[in-house]
Each structure stands twice: as C-alpha cells, then as structure tokens.
Symmetry: D2
Subunit: 322 residues, 4 copies
C-alpha cells in the first residue's frame, strides 16, 4: 500500500485531530503517503483532497473539532453517489481508507468495502461512546468532563437558591454520558434510555431527599431518556414537586473544546493502529481499545451490536446520592 | 455602630462570597460584629441569622454561589412583611445592613431605609452589569468568561460543520454580556436589547460573510434582544439563510463557577468599602467602582438611571468581524 | 462490623474527598457507622476522630485535597506509636479501617494488620499511579490533565519564541505521569525513570527535529528520570544544543484542583468497594480497578510488585513526534 | 498611508493575536494594506515579511502566543542594524508601523522614529502591566487568572497538609501580578518590589496567623521582591517558622494560554485604535486604555515614567487575610 486516505464524518468529536495526526505520522513512518479528504463523504464525491505531510498536522493534537471538516451527504446514501466517490478515490491513487467517526460513518464505509472492495479501517470518533468493540470512543472523556464542569457551576446556583435542576446531556440512544456525568456530579437521579424512567419514582426520590435535609438536587437526563428530554420529564412531575425546579440543556458545548489527555492518547493510539491494520491487510474493521489493549472488531458488529452501560455504576449512584 | 448584618439576595453571582468575606473581615478590623442573614429578605423576616466571625469566611473567596443563600420573598413586597423584617433586625441588635445583590435587592433595601430608617449600603452583585454607579458589577467578568469558554467550544463545531450558530446569553434588558462575549468571541453579529434588531439585516451580514469565504459564523443574542431570543431570531430569518444554522442557549452555566481574579478583587474592595461607608454614617447608597476609584451612588439612582453599553465597541465588533 | 474508621495519609490527591464520601455513604447503606480520623497516622495516635454522617460528606465530591487532612508521623514508624494508635482505635470502638493513600500509607496499614490484627482495606489514592493491583490510582487522571494544561500554555510561548522547553513533572520512581503527559502534549522527548536517559541521544533528537523544520520542542522529564531532573538533563546537553532552551518545574500545581470525572468515578467505586470488602471480612488488601473490574490485591503485593509503564506507548510517542 | 507593517516583539503575551487581528481588519476597513513582520526586529532586519489579509487572521482571537513569532535581536541594538531594518521597511513600501510589545519593544521603536522618521504607534502587549499610559496591558488579566488558578490548586494541598506555601509569580520590577493574584488568592502575605520586604515581619505575620488558628497560609512573592525570589525569602525566615513550608515557582505557565475576555477586548480595541492613530498621523506614541477611554501617550513616557501599584489594595489585602 503506497497511499491511503483519511477523513472525518458525522458529528465532530474532540480528539479527531489527534487521530488525524497519528494516522499521518504513523503512515509516514511506514513509508505510506496520506491524502486528507475534506468534508467526509460529501467531499469524497467532490474529490476534495489534499496531501497531508508530517508538518501539516503539527500543533493540532490539542485542538477540538476536525481540520478535515465534516458534513452530511445525501448523495452518498445512493449507489450512484458511492460509485462516484469510489471513482474519485481511484483517480487519486488511494488504496485504502481510515474512516474516523461514528455509526453513520461506519455504515457508509461498509458500503465502500462491500460494493467496491475498497479497504477501510474505522476509528471510533464520537462523543456518544455507543460503539461496540471499544471500551471508550474518542471524544467521550472530553464531553463528560465538559458537561461535568457545567454541572459544577450549576450546582453553585442550585445550592444558593435551594432548587432542583434538571440538566439534559447528549445521548439519544445511549446513557454513557449521563451515567458518568451524573455519578461524578453527585446527581440525585440519573435518567438513561437504557432503563425505564418513572416520573413518579423520580418525584419520590427528590421529595425524600428534601425530607432528609438536602435542599438542592441535580437530575441528569440523557436527551433520549424521556419524551421531551429534561423539560419533558420535569413537566411530567412538576405538580408532584414541592420545590422550585429549573431546566438546563447543555447542548453543543459538549462537543467542542481541547481534548483531555485520555482522548488524545486514545486517538493517538487508535489512529496509529488503524494505519498498521490497514497496511497489514485488514479491512471492514474498527480499531478499538478493549481492557487496555488495541483490538479489531468487524464494522458490522461495531454498529449493530449493543454495548451496555455499567448497571452496577447506575445502582452505585443511587447509594451514593443520599 | 456595634453590629451590622449582611445578606445576599436575587440571582446568585460569582464573587458574592468574596464580598461576604470582605464585609466580615473589614468589620472585624473596625471592631464591628457581623451577623449573616440567610436566604435574603425571606430569611430576614424569619429571623434566620448567624454570627459570622473571621474564620467562618475562611476559604470561601474562590467559591461560586453564596454561603448565605438567596431566595425570593413575596412577603417582603408588602409593608407588613418589611415591618416584620425590621423587627427581627432590631431584636438582633443590628444597626446597619450591607445588601449584596441587584436592582430588586436595592429596591427592597430602599424601603427599609425609607420606612424604618434602617441604614443600608448596597454592594452590586449581579452578573448582568445593569446597575448605574459602578463600571462593573460583581460576577459580570466571570459570567462573560464562562460564556466565552462555551463559545470557543461551539466554534470548534461550527467550523468543523461549516454552520452558523445562534448563541443566546443572559441579558433581558441589557446587552453587556452579549457585547463583551460577542466581541471577544469574534461573533459576526451581536444582538442587544439596546439597539433594534432587523432580521433581514442579520441575514444579509451572514450571507455577505459566506460570500467572502467565511464558512462558519457565530451570532450572539442577548435573551431580550428579540422576541423568543436566539431561537426567535433564527426563526425570523431561516428562510433567508442559505446555510445550516443551530441554536444554543447557554442558560444557567453562566451564573456559577469560581470567580475570576477581577471579580474577587472587585468584591473584596467593595465589600470592605461598604462597611467603611456604613460605619461612617452612609445609608441608602451603593458602593461602586468608577474609573478605578470607589464611589457612592444613591440606591435610587443605581436602580433607576440607565447605564448604557459602549456603542463604540459594538461598532468595532462589526469592523473586526470581517 | 458496626463501626469503621476512614483516613487519608501521604500526599494529597484529587478524588480523596470523593472516596471519603463513597465510604461514608456505602457504609450508611450497609448500616455501618463511620468515624473520620484526621491527619492520618499522626491523628490516629492523638485520637483525632469525628463521626461522619451522610450529610457531612455533602458537596465534597468536586473538591481537591482531603477534608480529613493528612500528615507525616515519625511516631507511627515505631512499634510504640502503632500500639498507641491501635489503643485509640479500640477505645473508639472501631472494628475496621479504610486507608486512602499510597505505598507509605499501605506499609503503615500492613503493620496494623500484622501486629494488632486490625482489619484494614486500602484505597489507592496517589497521583503517581505507582501501585500494583490497579490500572489507575485516584488522582492520576487529574494530575495528568493539570500538567497537560500547563504544557499547552507553555507551548504557546515555545512556538512564539521558537525555543525548546524542558518541563519537569512529578514522578521520582515512576514515569506514568511523564508518559501520558508527554504523549498527549506532543512532546519530542519523554524521559522516564524506567528507561536509561542518554543526554546525547536527547540532543540528537532535538537537533534532528530542528533540521526537519520544527522550530520549537517540548521535552517532558519525570523528576527521577535524570539526576537533577529537567534542569540536570538540560545542563548535560546545553553545549550540544543549537537552540535556546528553558526549564519549567510544574511542582505542586499537579497535586490539587477539582478531580476529573474519571477520578471521581474511580474514587466513588473504590471507596464503596472498600467498605463492602471490609464488611465482608477482607483485610490486608487493596481495592483496585483492573480491566474495568474491581479487584482485590494483597497490600504487600500492591506496594512491592512493580507496575510497568506501557512501553508500546513510549515507542509510539517517538513515532508521532516527527 | 497605503501600507503599514505590524510586528510583535519581546516576551509573548496572551492577546497579541487578537491585537494583530484588529490591526489587520481595522486597516482593511480604512483601505490600508498590512504586512506582517515575523520574529520582531530580528525578522525586520532579515526582511521576513508576509502580507496579511482579513482571512489570514481568522480564528486567532482565542489563541495564546503570537502568530508573527517573536525574537531577540542584538543587531537591532546597533545603529547599523536599525539602518538595515529601515531599508527593508522602505523596500517593502511600508509607511508606518504598529509595534506590539513591552518596554524593550518601544525603546527600539523610538529609535526608528528618531533616527529614520518612521511613523510608529505602540500597542502595550506584556503580561507585566508595567507601562505608563494604560491602566492595563494586554496579557495581564490572563496571566493573573492563570496564576490564580494555580494558587487555588496549591491551596488544596496547603490546606490538606497544613503547610505554608511560598509561591513565586512573574514581576522582576513590578508587583502588579503579585498584588492582584495575592489579593484574589487570599494570600496572607504579598511581597512586591515596590515595598521593602522584611523577612522577620513576614515570619511574624505567619506565626500570628497560626496562633489565630489558620493552619495553612499562602505567601505570594514577585520574583524581584526579594533576592532569590520565593526561595530566597523562605531561606531567610525558615529558622523562625514553626510550620512546614514549601516553594513553588509558577514560571512560564503564566505566559501562555487562551486570552481572557478582557484581554481580547482590550487587544481588539487598542489594535484598532493604533491603526486609526497611525493613519491619522500619530507617531512615537502608545495607545492605551485609561479610565475606560482610549488614550495616546508618548512612547518615551510610556517606558520611562513609573506606574505605581495600588497601595490601598495592598493594605486591604492585609486587612482581609485575617
């Protein structure tokens, strides 16, 4: 393999740049050229490509977002679109791809593998941590710490006003962020999509907490845990609550920012491993870190199998939120 | 004066604790006792009081929120409520009050002065910076920096996805936060309540910016700048926009957190000055910092006169956001 | 077991308070009383004890340092001292201990187990990560991120002045902090105690880096990696360096601060697990997290067996620092 | 004036990039071209120049350091060197200069004005705040907040171990950073170059503090306040101290990092004002912000007149550190 392409796709995640840097420099060490494809699949179809040398990725390990940009592409969802993309890759002499992103990115990559025989190795870059085959995805640790910092701030107000705050964090289908943020933030209640949320039970926990002398409380709600998210949950129990309550939706601040040490290291490790795997002949797989070791998982499994949250930690959070 | 009371009221602001610490220690240096009144006017009516010694305020200068708590009080809005409050103050031997808060706090304080002759000196503690008689209020600098950090994060995503973000910051009647955050955050548009907002003009600025090659933009909107805030403004121009746009409401994260150096110093200075003024016989005034010097302003003026935003900075932001 | 004691000892580490909170609340859930012992072994000998209820540990999960304080004790190093300590524990009705700290703490704990049959379970609280039996110690992740933030700042100056910076991080006997910080900070060279450091080789790497067009470089040095630390290493190669170089010793800023999400979660989990183990009859063991699961390791092994750094990551850092 | 040059020189300061951005965009608005001169006076002599358009300064307002780099130049200290520099400026068609830096930068600029009649306007960019003619210099607010964050961390350890910490901050000739950081950090003692430091008096303050029950203390020392800095001061009093003490030198971490809102706004305002002044015919002056308004001061005064620290704040810090 003489030349590979790398791109980012889907929602941006802190650490994507660290992964791009690792891809470029590991490839260089192996004597392989790297072409950066801009704007994900949309740019692939348009042939938006730029050679990436070792100096082009200097001083980006600490930057949030992605220097390769990201975009949605309706066209790539069609067979014609993908054929166009493949033609552009061929024209550019690209013999293999490193795809950095989440499940949408990997579904697209699978099509390229299956329809055109293009070798692709995936790197899990998404704040949601909802990919099977890696204990953590790149960006998750940063997103959790960013949300936690916001909660620490809100707690100052919650405590000063003796209020309950319902804080919505990202997670339409998975409660990873909510669980870690809730446990680390000392939340009284953590609502995740993986477990049924009973508004009445939530109200009872909050009332019991008040009776025990706790004047302010934090409820962390994954956006997909309840219809309408945090606002929906509060609306469902407001009449049962004796105390004042407020809603805050953290939103896009969870996506950006300089990556944590952990995300930079994970991205460096997986970016380099992806190149090694690709050059070594692997395809249709995602690199991940499982119990501290780099591991390969078929892309199909990565997106189809469900990784569960740690239910023991969820129960622990209830014990500790006395 | 042998004994004074101190309380916080209204929305909490970072630096309130630093002000409480300064009040207690400056009073101690002058041989005056301090009683902390909890939960603002509500607690005053209930007689929730606690003596504050110099060690009681140790290690709080860096804490957000207020250790004295804050609350709303419907009862204090009535003459009977205020009479009750005054009776409690008298019973506790409190001869003067330091009131830390915003315009609502000071309107209440004025009533105590006028109806009962209770000496009161106000300390401007509110993130909104909307008090006449001080260049900055305690908490404003921290709120601006917190919002700015959020905008820096969002810009990573805005740049990566080449989108426009409409970011709503606090400010129902005043654009101080929006102006500073927008200028420091490199926003293309800053919408403030002090100037009319023309959706069409906003759309034109954004389109022109796109034509000049700027792929992503930030619009900072004070919550009171347009009906419906940031979401309202976006809705009004969405049809005219060629690019994808998103809304983020920063909300309560702007209130909390450890105060900046500037807010701690301002709070220390004004807290101490309030005690000196009170002990020196002042009443019905607010201490403020004007052009670097401590100054006294009648409470009536502080809440009724309007402090304008710096229009030159608003125009500068347009020049710089090319 | 009706009543247990908890204490912190040795250098403070972010997350110790989260561990104390978890010990108290998990014990409460199991119907066990908790006594907090202040100032480590020194306080144990003096009988400095205070009952800890669930509300006493409210609002501490986010605080750095340790509310139980920590101290050195020469007296506890003697048999007489330990006999006194044991007598105090007995007098207080303490039937088991949770010891939060590092290897010095655990050596002391082992003596109590062996000489007096006092049941003790250890919780690994140290920023150094140098304990066998847990993948990470409480405080390590925070220390790494704090040091990384400092390095990100220094890189601004290094790049602007085109200089080399030698940055010393904590680690007298172990290179865990240096490795993670160096890899995440994009350091050209990482010097750790686990591998011989050849000044000439370091100089060559830096010169080669300059020749390739890299104008500024970062060298991360664990304090025990070379005699004299970062300053010693620089002195040894200064004559070979063509470029300006500076030394910065990060020092105590690495110890404090609000713990990261990861440290709070690890501390919560291990604090609770320690109580469960102790109540379940365990003694002379340390709770740790190994490959995602809670595990018990004999205290003797925890302090005597050597945990190695990840050499593959050290090599990766060299590939990526092109 | 059709074309102006801009450069940064001396130690880097957070906000220099925001100033460069403002210079470029304000000049563009006035129809004036901007040439960036790299590496300060050294690069000026070498003719290292690059045109700067409005898009070249996009996305730098939040970056620490300086994109134009900075360097020392021995050659510029000679008349021949300056003649060479002037020749390069003429060859490039540069009709005026904006010089961003501190007193060394301005002394150099004065020579260009006096020897060659080159119009120069200075912008105060230095963390030290030691320039007459502006209330604050660009970078000062960020440096103070960075140092304060470090002190907040160290206090966790100081409190946990009940120790005294001597923390050295930047300031060889001026105590601005030490005073603000010390007051905001609740330091027991603040040692500045502007006032004599009596080691015995320092020891007495610390001992008195211990007697009053304060177990840990912070002493903030400007590097030029005492021979040997913080370590020198501690050495001078160690024998008189009953408590354990430690020294931490904050060093270069104070220089870098993303600028605060205040520094970005100040830099934006002064960068733009410098262009307006230059184009309007001013020369040999520095733009500054005095009591909220932009002001011009002769460069000679800016570097020769002494700006004093606020002695009232220094005394206040003693009252508040009870």
């Amino acid at each position: 393999m003489k030349r590979i392409g790398v791109f980012t796709s889907g929602g941006d995640a802190p650490g994507m740049n660290a992964a791009i840097r690792a891809v470029v420099r590991q490839a260089h060490a192996l004597g392989v050229e790297v072409i950066g494809i801009r704007r994900g699949y949309a740019g692939m179809i348009q042939g938006e490509m730029v050679p990436l040398g070792v100096r082009d990725v200097a001083n980006i390990i600490q930057r949030g977002g992605t220097i390769l940009l990201t975009a949605r592409s309706q066209e790539f969802l069609t067979e014609e679109g993908r054929a166009k993309a493949y033609a552009k890759l061929q024209a550019a002499g690209i013999e293999g791809l490193v795809a950095i992103g989440g499940d949408g990115t990997f579904r697209g990559a699978l099509c390229l593998v299956e329809e055109h025989g293009m070798p692709v190795v995936g790197v899990p870059g998404t704040i949601d941590n909802d990919l099977y085959g890696t204990d953590y995805t790149i960006g998750f640790d940063t997103a959790v710490n960013t949300a936690l910092e916001a909660i620490d701030r809100i707690r100052d107000t919650a405590a000063s006003h003796e209020r309950v705050f319902f804080i919505e964090v990202m997670g339409r289908h998975a409660g990873f962020i909510a669980l870690d943020v809730g446990l680390a933030g000392g939340a009284e209640v953590i609502a995740v999509p993986e477990e049924p949320v009973d508004p009445k039970a939530v109200a009872e926990v909050l009332e019991a907490s008040q009776r025990r002398g706790k004047k302010s409380s934090i409820v962390v709600v994954a956006e997909g845990a309840y219809p309408g998210g945090a606002a929906g949950l509060l609306a469902a129990i407001r009449e049962h609550l004796q105390v004042e309550a407020r809603v805050t939706v953290l939103g896009h601040i969870q996506r950006g920012g300089s990556p944590t040490a952990k995300d930079r290291i994970l991205a460096s490790r997986l970016g380099a491993a992806a190149v090694e795997a690709l050059v070594g002949g692997a395809s249709g797989v995602m690199v991940g870190e499982v119990e501290g070791e780099v591991d390969l998982t078929p892309l199909k499994e990565a997106v189809e199998r469900r990784k569960d949250i740690n239910r023991a930690l969820l129960r622990l959070s209830q014990v500790l939120a006395l």
